[in-house]
Symmetry: C2
Subunit: 495 residues, 2 copies
């Protein structure tokens, strides 16, 4: 018989072209090592009854590395899952009154509880809570009809890019380094990624001249640049964009007629006070007409990141600004094909944007838990970047926000040569060796894009704080030995 539609040779080429390093070669190898039961650290990181022999820092997945969920939202969603408990005379023995009240509130917003499909845009009452959150955050009103809830932010990004990309001639400006969701989705939809480089020496800032150059080069190749992605705070780079930078970007989008996709999923993860998070939408509104009435902006948020870290629930939203109603209808129609985002995560989103207030029974516990996580993340960001900077041939910008460190690895020529011999990209070679030696599962910088001849790795700052010193010293030991092993030629060639 001949080839069939699901034989590799005849599959959709766009599917085959996709690369997704966050769960790529390194992750697969780490999963194998975990299956084999390999042990690395003297003490193992524990959660419940699980023991982690491999430290999975490849993906921002806080609860997989021991972060406990916030109690209050879990109580509310548990009650929504089991609404019959609300009639149980004993419910008050294990659930606080405000959780019970909130569960009743959210159930009243649904049409049939968590087991019924919601509207394909999400529950209207929750979208209203999101709009109120945005209004409080930015100081400008937001319209719930322009907010769609999604199964995590990634799904929202994919929906919007699907509307934008018509074919290979359509380009999307994406920062390099970038989160590979963007490169993967653009490949999948058959579009063209137009890279613009972030400046590592300027703390991963964005130079608008680079943008102009990228667009000019793309046009020269016959590509119509239709949209621009920013990730703020940055992934994998961890920087917070300044207001001035955001203004330049919005001005650029205005001049070039670009849709701006604002990936703002790390807006709650800020580890310094000098540069707070500012939303693209606030800056856009501040700029006033004509720009504020013209630039098409879609902003993304999630319950996965922040200090909530509720990744497994898969909840997100996007908000549309200056998108024409007919387009909104089309996006609604496409969302309808899969009927509705999962309803439990919609409740999590409501709880995240409409948190407890002082005076609520559970308020103090909620604040204590939230602060505990955020302050620990702030300390871990410091421990990690300091740790990297103490290593041979490693330099790392401070993680201002998000949940990643992205140290540069100055690999000696002999290491690059050895990688070539092994048929590996140099940073993949380094990261595989690191994994085998220490159990630390990272993502090579080549998975995010980087300038020619420059190498990085990305790690989350999420391992438990008490394990950090051991992880960093294990890293340092491996790195310094690796660098020494390949370095003699390197030093000589530099003299």
């Amino acid at each position: 018989m001949g080839l069939k539609a699901l034989d590799y040779e005849t599959m959709n080429e766009n599917v085959k072209k996709v690369q997704y390093a966050v769960r790529g070669e390194l992750y697969l190898r780490a999963s194998e090592l975990q299956k084999e039961g390999k042990k690395y650290m003297k003490s193992t990181v524990c959660w419940g009854s699980m023991h982690f022999h491999i430290i999975f820092t490849n993906v921002g997945n806080p609860q997989a590395l021991g972060q406990k969920p916030l109690t209050f939202p879990r109580q509310v969603v548990a009650l929504c899952q089991a609404p019959f408990l609300l009639d149980d005379p004993n419910v008050g023995l294990i659930f606080p009154a405000d959780a019970i009240a909130r569960a009743k509130h959210y159930l009243s917003l649904t049409s049939g509880g968590l087991g019924a499909y919601s509207d394909s845009r999400g529950i209207p009452g929750v979208r209203k809570e999101v709009a109120e959150f945005i209004e409080r955050r930015d100081g400008y009103p937001s319209d719930p009809e322009l907010i769609f809830l999604t199964d995590g932010a990634s799904k929202g990004v994919m929906q919007i890019l699907n509307c934008i990309i018509r074919g290979q001639g359509d380009g999307v400006l994406v920062p390099v380094p970038q989160y590979p969701l963007y490169s993967a989705t653009i490949s999948l939809f058959g579009g063209s990624l137009v890279p613009y480089y972030l400046e590592e020496t300027a703390n991963w800032g964005l130079d608008v001249n680079n943008l102009r150059e990228s667009v000019a080069q793309a046009r020269f190749k016959g590509i119509t640049v239709r949209a621009m992605v920013i990730i703020n705070p940055g992934n994998p780079t961890g920087q917070c964009l300044s207001e001035a930078n955001l203004r330049e970007i919005l001005n650029f989008c205005y001049q070039e007629n670009l849709v701006l996709l604002g990936d703002e999923v790390y807006q709650q993860n800020i580890y310094q006070d000098e540069r707070p998070f500012i939303s693209s939408r606030k800056v856009l509104m501040d700029m006033g007409p004509p720009i504020s009435k013209d630039v098409q902006l879609v902003s993304f948020h999630t319950v996965s990141k922040g200090y909530w870290g509720e990744c497994g629930q898969r909840g997100g939203y996007f908000e549309m600004t200056n998108i024409p109603p007919k387009t909104v209808d089309e996006i609604y129609k496409i969302a309808s094909i899969s009927l509705s985002p999962n309803v439990p995560a919609q409740i999590f989103m409501g709880l995240m944007v409409n948190p407890l207030k002082p005076g609520d029974v559970s308020y103090d516990q909620f604040v204590r838990e939230s602060k505990g996580i955020l302050e620990s993340l702030r300390r871990r960001a410091r421990i990690m970047t300091d740790g990297f900077n103490s290593c041979k041939n490693v330099v790392c910008n401070f993680t201002e926000g998000a949940m990643y460190s992205f140290p540069q690895l100055r690999l000696p020529p002999k290491a690059i040569e050895a990688a070539k011999q092994a048929g590996k990209v140099p940073d993949v070679f380094y990261c595989l060796k690191l994994l085998e030696a220490t159990g630390i599962s990272t993502v090579p910088g080549s998975g995010f894009g980087q300038k020619e001849g420059v190498f990085h790795l990305r790690t989350t700052i999420l391992p438990a704080e008490e394990d950090m010193p051991e992880i960093m010293s294990s890293f340092k030991k491996f790195n310094d030995e690796f660098m020494a092993q390949y370095e003699d030629n390197w030093n000589r060639s530099r003299m």
Copy 2:
């Protein structure tokens, strides 16, 4: 300024081409009427504190129409959401011991509870439970590595079609009438739908000669037919395919080198005993080599349908048979882009495929609740098809399975003329009038496809059983008046 990427005029044409009638014009009008607070029925259908003035029978969404969730799975998932309750000395006062044990079991299968991303294919331990379920059902072993959990079956269907469809020259055989997920997804991915007609007079059976003809016609147009969809039990048609029919289909796929997509989401919804559900996979395995080793089959299932009706949770799986490992890797990679299906629904899937056993504390309640729902659905299937058959110019096959009735409407020529005047497709015209007059929100047959000049509507059999007599008499009153109003010409023209 010129047009932007999210202006309607310049959007991806494939997005604009998509039609999705289940949440189309009728649904939008029904939502408007609900917002306006229109009341129709003497008694209103209630769930919790919600009052339904509009009877939404447009989508199979049981819990939105008052079906109560099964208690046991909700208890387990509530406990998984609130794992701290497992340490609470009072937990036994409101949760039974088997729910507590099950929650511990599922938490032990995760890496960090419900808040952590799982593997992109789903939790390995749950996929193992699915494989065991399939083995018990079919009598053939199933491999957990070939089972992927998804956010509902729709998302799985979309993933697989994305791998199959390379462009307009690729065709997928889809039954007509069909569930519009298929037509919508094929449009979205820029492929070609190749229709094959189900025979209404043969109880919506499938004639393989029709299939051959469809393929021949498509080839004549230069289309490469790559896959075939079957929906069994049928949506919107409600039939169960016989074993003989499934053999013919698999033989046809073997001869024509087609991937078979088996949409089997209604496998638990069977309302007669003569024709039980048989899975495509069992029939394929029964056929033996070479066919059983050759035909590429992907089968879909869900927690949304069945008597569980947990639509809002968005849980599903697909199982792959005879799909080469390299292709499985590609599908895994694409699944990775959105990191993981939502974890709570994975637990629901585990519970559904691995239910309580006799002797478990909650077993009797679980069986009582399950039987109650299934037996009531069986009665409602009968009430509804009998009701339709008692109406003027309406004929309806019995609903053997799934959750829909799909009556044929023999519209008089004057009604067709009036629809034309109103700028509507005739069955859309009828369904809009029905909605305005009775509050019953259905989907016109044209949304599913039907033979030229033949008209239908689809309604779910899900309204509460006690409301059924009133709904059907309200329908009959509307229909018989509608038919009488437009009928005089009709009768004369037939004489």
